[in-house]
Amino acid sequence: MRRELNRVWLTLAMILITLTSQAQLKSIVFTPQWDANAQFAGYIAARELGYYEEEGLKVTIKYPETTMSSQEMLRDGKADLITTALTSAIVMKANEGVDLVNVLQTSQHSSICLALKNPMKNLRVDSLKGMRVGLWYNRLAISAEALNIQRHLNWTMIPFRRGFKLLDYGVLDALTVMEYNELLQLKYNGHDVTEHSVLRLCENGYDVPEDGIYCLNDYYKQNTKEVKAFINASKKGWEWCRKHPQEATNYVIEEMTKEKIARSKVIEFEGLKVILKKQEATPGKVSYQLRQPQFDHAASIMKAAGLIETIPDFKTFI
């Protein structure tokens, strides 16, 4: 009898300790700039593997809504940390005056491509002149806008939400796609994705870093420890993905299923490999840092295209 009572007490103590520790975890709302996909495999893996909890964080990954982008969510305080493209962050800071800081730079190279409806021999930038080009409505491909302006391509730009169907519907001549996402969707939907149909910005002078984690400067100052903990856990998540791409893809697929998003393991696995490659500053080396030359390159392109008036101070950006 006594032994059983001891067991009951022990169980209750364990529950209490767990609840206490849960209560002590710092909550963070993290919003990626797009729906769940391999692009965010590192964060999904870190959450699933308990890396955030190990850092004392309770991270909620809240994907952007139809009505609100990640930038808007950050600006409106609906998200503590977001991911967005460097160019979008520069625009926010330079044009909208949002005081945000880059706390982690995952992508080191551009993944943006322009996919054409009809393949062309000797496809070059100038080949795109006068085309009806689809660009994401939330301006995640600002470098493509810069290309249009700087190279005087005179596109009829048609903003769209997602996917690639507008190419099939005959509405567009070309549209922006990510190398790790829509380009693979095109590939596995029977489109030609050779050099005759795909123009990669990174190969045409627009190789600017993309995804990074941002938060408002104030938030960072007030929660520096938590942000750093989040960064550490996120890095661990990405490193795990690098070592276990298949398992990471499985986590991504589970997440996409939960979010009711169209999913294919083939595409996500291949996409993850592209993403991991884009994270390497030099072959085989991952730094997770935004370097000033890259920042300056991106900002100067945007300034030259007239997309920003002034280049934000790099020191205030990181």
Binding site: T66, I158, F160, K165, G190
Partner: protein, 625 residues
């Protein structure tokens, strides 16, 4: 292994031929059946595809007509959102296919409302509400809005997830004012589950429908829209499947579909070999596909094949048995003929073949009749020969009797002559006279002996003649000669064998001969002996030993290894008549031996009594070759 039985051989040959015929028949039946079933399967697939096309076309037309008929009313009531909502509600109420009807106003079309979209939905029950940017976001960035707005055409979207995360397809038409400005986009959404229900018709195809076939609809990019595996719907394409399964055929199918080409192929689907038939649907540019497991397509063919094979096997076994007994029955007359021939060979000339055999009208009947005819002929010839033999036998018996009589009649005078001669010699004192008498007597005896010899020859000839002619008369010459010699007691007991002037045996016999015949005979004898002797030194002795009342002919080879006794005996088989010793008496041994040698050599034998010499000289006269 050589098969001796003609029955078995014929049965095997006929069985093999039967098997060939059966195999050819089965293959032909299989091919015909396979082609028919393939056609059936293809027709069934095509029938299903026709159904898909028909039903989707019906859905398409219904939705399009609904939109077209609603367009004027909406255009007229565009300012009145309540009226618009009524029209939309009416659409979903009257058309069960349409789950959702919405009118997306162009931005700022309505005063104070940048985005505005009345929606009527029917998810079991009809509801209607208004949506704006806060609820629906900036719908102008959605494909279903952009496409008709940009292209100014009515338009079917590929399936997409709506704001309720429900996969739908939409038909959207732009509504423009008289200035051709875009006022709104009407969109009528149909849930994929509705389509799925419409296309689940495998049980409707008929009782022969292949139950395990999969009916699939793919969008223009080969994304699965309806199929049995829910995980594929809206997620996977033919290309991702091809990639995950590393299936080049699948990839090719995807390319064909994207190129809007109909087709048919065979590949593995879920590890099962299947026939895939697809057809690109007009207008929607979707693709209807029917996947039928190969085993199912060919289930009936295989069943038919197994039945055919079983029947063929049973027929073959039956054919073998029937053929075996038929052939055996057919060959039974031959066995009877064989037995009859065997009996005929054994001298049973009265063997009869059954009447049913000889009365047959076929070749066997001919053979049987010929056999009977041959048997009769042989019997007739044999009978004639027997008669002739008996006749000869009687003739020779008469001759034998005659000779016997002659000998008997001569014996007494000879004895008398001898006795008389002896008496006369004893009475004569004068030696010369006595000697002369004696010589005359001997001459007389010699003369008689000559006659004896002639008789002997005659008897011998009779015997040989009788033997040659099959009379089997046993004329024993020694009997006559022996009888004759009993009276000639002066016969010399010593004689010599002399060959080519050499005395082979100096003690017993002298045979005057210089002929090649005896030389050859002895030469052959020596050669035969030499075959077993390692040297050429062979002693050949003809020894006639009257004391032992037997004849011995001995050969001694001076070889390192002595000739086995059995082989020695074999050498003289042609010389020694084993019966000799049993019949030869002491007194007339030499004469008999000479006679035998002469007989063997085929020469004449006579006895000579030289003048002024004691004893008799047995002369073997061998004519020169």
């Amino acid at each position: 292994m050589k098969i001796k039985s003609l029955t078995l051989r014929v049965a095997i040959v006929v069985t093999i031929m039967t098997l060939f015929v059966l195999l050819a028949t089965v293959l032909t039946v299989y091919n015909i059946a396979a082609n028919n079933h393939k056609k059936d399967a293809a027709e069934e697939s095509n029938y299903k595809l026709d159904l898909v096309v028909e039903r989707l076309s019906k859905v398409q037309k219904t939705v399009e007509l609904t939109a077209r008929y609603s367009e004027p009313a909406l255009k007229a009531s565009i300012e009145d959102t309540t009226a618009v909502m009524d029209i939309l509600t009416n659409i979903v109420e009257t058309n069960s296919l349409v789950n959702c009807a919405a009118l997306a106003y162009a931005p700022d079309r309505l005063p104070g409302r940048s985005y505005y979209m009345p929606i009527a939905a029917n998810y079991g029950m009809v509801s209607h509400y208004f949506s704006d940017k806060e609820i629906h976001g900036e719908y102008i960035y959605d494909d279903w809005y952009i496409a008709p707005a940009q292209k100014d055409i009515s338009f079917w979207t590929d399936p997409y997830y709506n704001t309720l995360d429900v996969p739908v397809v939409s038909y959207a038409i732009p509504i423009r004012n008289e200035q051709h400005e875009l006022e709104a986009v009407l969109t009528l959404a149909v849930e994929l589950t509705n389509l799925h229900k419409l296309l689940t018709f495998s049980n409707e195809v008929g009782p022969d429908s292949t139950s395990n076939s999969i009916n699939i609809i793919l969008d223009r990019n080969t994304t699965f829209l309806t199929t049995r595996n829910k995980n594929l719907i809206m997620n996977e394409t033919i290309f991702t499947l091809a990639e995950s399964q590393n299936d080049t055929i699948f990839r090719h199918v995807g390319q064909e579909i994207v190129a809007r080409r109909d087709g048919e192929t065979v590949t593995n689907v879920n590890g099962e070999k299947s026939v895939i038939t697809w057809r690109v649907l007009p207008n929607l540019q979707w693709t209807a596909m029917v996947v039928t497991p190969y085993t199912e397509v060919f289930a009936r063919i295989n069943s038919l094949t197994y039945t055919a094979l079983l029947v063929a096997l049973l027929a073959t076994i039956a054919a073998i048995i029937i053929l075996y007994f038929t052939v055996r029955r057919a060959l039974r007359p031959f066995n009877r003929l064989k037995k009859a021939t065997h009996l005929l060979g054994d001298g049973k000339y009265d063997t009869e073949l059954p009447h049913k055999l000889t009365s047959r009208p076929d070749e066997i009947g001919d053979l049987s009749r010929e056999f009977m005819r041959m048997e009769k002929a042989v019997k007739k010839n044999i009978d004639e020969l027997e008669e002739e033999r008996l006749r000869l036998k009687r003739s020779y018996e008469m001759l034998e009797t005659l000779v016997h009589n002659v000998v008997s009649h001569l014996r007494l005078p000879i004895n008398n002559m001898v006795g008389f001669n002896d008496a006369l010699a004893s009475m004569v004192t004068d030696c010369e006279e006595a000697q002369e008498i004696k010589e005359h007597s001997k001459e007389a005896i010699m003369s008689i002996l000559k006659h004896f010899n002639q008789l002997n020859e005659m008897a011998d000839l009779i015997s040989l003649k009788a033997y040659d002619e099959g009379a089997m008369v046993d004329v024993s010459i020694e009997k006559f000669v022996g009888e004759a010699m009993k009276s000639a007691h002066q016969l010399e007991e010593r004689f010599f064998l002399k060959v080519n002037g050499k005395y082979l045996d100096t003690r017993d016999m002298t045979i005057h001969t210089n002929t090649m015949v005896l030389e050859n005979l002895l030469h052959q004898l020596i050669i035969e002996i030499s075959k077993v002797s390692k040297t050429d030194e062979v002693d050949l002795q003809f020894r006639l030993d009257k004391d032992l009342n037997s004849m011995k002919i001995m050969v001694e080879a001076k070889a390192e290894n002595p000739i086995p006794e059995e082989e020695k005996r074999d050498f003289f088989k042609q010389f020694a008549n084993k019966k000799v010793n049993a019949y030869v008496t002491n007194d007339y041994l030499q004469l008999f031996i000479c006679y035998r040698i002469a007989k063997l050599l085929g020469v004449k034998l006579y006895v000579d009594t030289p003048k002024n010499k004691q004893g008799n000289l047995f002369v073997i006269e061998i004519p020169k070759a």
